[in-house]
């Protein structure tokens, strides 16, 4: 992937990533809208990071792979806008079978997902989910961005992290 240096304001725009990149960029603009922040689950800022995080996992998502969003875990339309290369669906934890990644609200939801699909990458905005060893990752954006990962949950899901990425996150 290559980033084109913008003529005004620094390097931001992604060029060769086609639809995914365009989606990311469009989504970034959507952040200025107050409605971009959902009341529950991951807000727009967390979601933007969560999507990027998936690129630093050892097991990559195949084109068309399913990303399951549990009710309230994130705004479905926002996820679809960002992840046009994946099939984004909303459903309960029981429908996690075959999903590459699942956005969840809590540790209990993550545990249900894992029962249905032990290989699913569970991502949440709740750090408690990672602390409980239930979610693979959790995203925090305030007061500053930090990404938390559970070694236990990652091992259960058969996930390894990109080594540079691993140096930048907080492992639990």
């Amino acid at each position: 992937m290559r980033v084109t240096v913008k003529p005004w304001g620094g390097p931001v725009e992604k060029t060769p990533f086609g639809k995914v990149a365009a989606g990311l960029f469009a989504f970034a603009f959507s952040l200025v809208s107050p409605s971009a922040v959902s009341a529950d689950g991951m807000d727009a800022g967390q979601l933007q990071i969560a999507v990027k995080v998936l690129r630093f996992l050892g097991r990559k998502a195949q084109p068309g792979a399913t990303l399951l969003v549990l009710p309230g875990a994130a705004d479905l339309d926002q996820v679809k806008a960002v992840l046009s290369s994946l099939t984004v669906v909303e459903g309960g934890a029981g429908s996690a079978a075959g999903a590459y990644a699942v956005f969840v609200n809590s540790a209990s939801e993550a545990q249900e997902v894992t029962k249905a699909n032990p290989a699913a990458v569970t991502v949440s905005g709740d750090i408690g989910c990672v602390n409980a060893g239930s979610c693979v990752m959790a995203i925090q954006t305030t007061p500053k961005v930090s990404i938390h990962a559970s070694g236990v949950a990652a091992a259960k899901a058969g996930i390894v992290f990109d080594p540079v990425f691993k140096m930048l996150i907080t492992e639990h």
Partner: protein, 663 residues
């Protein structure tokens, strides 16, 4: 060259046998993800800037562009804690926390981690750094010694210039500049993707100008001066050999022509470099092999015309890995061979080998507290091939067999007190290695006298203790940083052309260890946090430094200035910028208190020179004419027609008009 090929082959052979899985730092993506820059210049480990255990400043591409500067030192002069002195159009010195001097040896400059420090004189030749401003992603400035990571000469600090990565970044920029002092300047940067797993970035640039007015100098100095000019070319290729192994090949060439008015010496420098780097993620960590060769050709056309060639070959390897979730370890080995030959050495060759080993341990004690410790051992063996002038009183045995050991360390404790408050406590010791001419220069002079290096010269050690406090000031969206530091410099040395100048029996000048110096200081800086495309940006900083020399022996009084007098006590830097729509306006300023420099007089004798306190303000206005074309006008030193930043030529006001096309 043969040595470099052998070293490179060895590295390739080792990596070929590694089980590997993915490696590379995508600075842009990580910065977008974490909303702050990423760096490896603090500890060798990728880290968020807010978490590094050092005092670090980051100058972004946006900062560079909006400064309107056409050279790196002009960008750095407004960075808090940095000292900058220009002595002619194409020559200036940058130092960190005082102790600035001609041929400043205390600052290590890197480009993408490769040292571009010139070991012959022991300084940074800023005009011959083969990097165009448009290809710089960020400039990372570490204040305080960092020899435990980078080795010799990271004494007062380190500056690492990080360029755009042709694997991840597409950078295509053409810039032309014209202005006062008959300036004609241009640069071009282009990225060429090679499939989806490789990319090449090419850059080239150069300038030609007229020198500042020389009426302040004696005729014998002014008459020999050259027209300032420089040029550089760089090619940087990166290839994901496998999804897991990245190969970097880089080549660069640059030359400059500049004048040192304080010493009356025009000089030409030519440099070439080759680099190969292999990095991989393996079962036992991030493994990195880096081989480079730097060659400098120095053509000194001063009072005694001399030429020299300096060749440095270096191979280094490191392994970075985590043990459990909270501990990161980095182990490193390095070998460097460095030699210089030419008329400076009476036709002989002086050389040394440095064997180094180091380790770094980063411990996340709890979510709010981390401790980083690093240590490094450097072992140097010195030697000479060729004759030794009898007048020096030395023999080959004085060089061969001379060794030295240096143990450097860095420790840093980072405590996140609240989400808005971070405390850092740091201690470190770094070393400034005497330059090759300090160790081995032997220039025959009339009357059986010599300019003399000293093979037994000891490196200067810099011991630094520091406490920093960062606070986020939410109501004004700003970051406040306060720093307090104390520093002990031991085994300072005087040498040929800098200060203090040391005279001995039968010598015009000679290198010698001359004592110690202490420094204490505070720095306070307030900077607006977010740098939105539209809106206001500003910063304000204040620095106070007090230097106390303990110099003794061999110094002829009256012909030198000390570090104590040569370091300005107070500096204020400030900046403000505003963007609306297609327009942006910026002003950067600096006030600096007086200090004492030295300058050669009409009789050829060095005399102290008082440099008055001064204010300098640069202003820039830019307009985005189209999506791809920007026009800008910059006036350097808008408030004064000319002023002395140090001994030498008074620095003149400059007007620079630039057109930049990005595609």
């Amino acid at each position: 060259m043969r040595r470099s090929i052998l070293l490179c082959s060895a590295a390739l052979a080792v990596l070929a046998g590694l089980p590997a899985a993915a490696q590379s730092i995508d600075y842009g993506t990580f910065e977008e993800m974490f909303h702050e820059p990423i760096t490896t210049s603090a500890t060798g480990k990728p880290q968020k800037v807010s978490e590094v255990p050092v005092n670090m400043e980051i100058v972004t591409q946006d900062d560079i562009r909006r400064s309107g500067a056409d050279n790196i030192p002009d960008v750095l002069q407004f960075v808090s804690g940095l000292d900058f002195r220009r002595s002619s159009f194409n020559d200036g010195e940058v130092s960190i926390r005082g102790y600035d001097q001609p041929w400043n040896p205390r600052l290590l400059l890197l480009v993408d981690g490769r040292p571009v420090y010139e070991d012959f004189y022991g300084d940074v030749v800023w005009q011959a750094i083969p990097v165009q401003l448009d290809e710089i992603r960020q400039i990372e400035i570490v204040k305080g010694p960092n020899s435990a990571l980078f080795g010799f000469n990271a004494a007062s600090g380190v500056i690492n210039i990080v360029t755009y990565d042709p694997l991840y970044d597409s950078t295509n920029v053409l810039t032309v500049r014209s202005g006062t002092q008959s300036l004609a300047e241009g640069s071009a940067v282009a990225t060429v993707p090679v499939g989806k797993d490789a990319g090449i970035r090419l850059s080239a640039g150069g300038l030609r100008a007229s020198e500042f007015q020389k009426t302040s100098l004696p005729d014998f100095l002014a008459n020999g001066m050259n027209h300032p000019k420089n040029g550089a070319f760089n090619i940087d290729g990166r290839w994901l050999v496998r999804p897991d192994i990245e190969l970097t090949l880089q080549g660069a060439a640059a030359q400059d022509q500049r004048n040192f008015p304080a010493d009356g010496t025009p000089e030409q420098d030519r440099t070439t470099s080759l680099r190969g780097r292999l990095s991989a993620n393996t079962d036992f960590g991030l493994v990195d092999f880096d081989v480079y060769r730097n060659v400098w050709k120095i053509d000194y056309r001063g009072l005694q015309a001399q030429q020299a060639v300096n060749e440095a070959d270096d191979i280094r390897g490191s392994d970075l890995f985590k043990i459990g979730p909270d501990n990161s370890i980095r182990l490193s080995l390095e070998y460097k061979y460095n030699q210089a030959s030419g008329q400076f050495f009476n036709g002989s060759t002086i050389f040394y080998s440095v064997y180094s080993g180091g380790g770094m341990w980063d411990w996340q004690i709890n979510p709010a507290l981390s401790l980083n410790n690093a240590v490094r051992l450097d072992y140097l063996e010195l030697g000479v091939n060729g004759g030794i002038l009898p007048a020096t009183g030395l023999t080959a045995a004085s060089y061969n067999g001379t060794t030295l050991n240096a143990v450097s360390f860095n420790s840093g404790l980072v405590y996140t007190v609240t989400p808005k408050d971070v405390l850092r406590f740091m201690a470190g010791r770094g070393f400034q290695l005497p330059a090759l001419n300090d160790l081995g220069q032997q220039i025959a002079l009339p009357g059986n006298a010599v300019d003399l290096g000293q093979p037994k010269l000891r490196p200067t050690s810099v011991l630094n203790f520091e406490a920093d406090y960062d606070h986020t000031v939410v109501p004004i969206d700003a970051t406040l940083r306060g720093a307090v530091f104390v520093q002990r410099n031991e085994d300072l040395y005087g040498y040929d052309v800098a200060l203090p100048r040391v005279l001995g029996a039968n010598t015009l000048s000679q290198s010698a260890n001359i004592g110690a110096s202490d420094e204490g200081g505070i720095e306070i800086a307030l900077k607006k946090k977010s740098t939105d495309a539209d809106g206001l940006r500003w910063n304000l900083g204040y620095q106070f430094a007090l230097v106390n020399d303990h110099i003794s022996g061999g110094v002829v009084s009256g012909v030198y200035s000390t570090f104590e007098k040569g370091t300005p006590r107070q500096v204020v830097d400030f900046g403000v910028g505003y963007t609306f729509g297609r327009w942006e306006f910026d002003a950067l300023g600096r006030w600096q208190s007086k200090f004492t420099d030295f300058q050669i007089d009409a009789g050829g004798t060095y005399r102290p020179m008082a440099v008055s306190d001064y204010v300098t303000v640069n202003a820039r206005g830019g307009c985005r004419v189209t999506e791809n074309l920007t026009l800008s006008a910059t006036v350097d030193q808008i408030n004064q027609a000319s002023l002395y930043q140090r001994a030498g030529l008074p620095v003149e006001r400059r007007a620079i008009f630039a057109a930049t096309a990005r595609y």
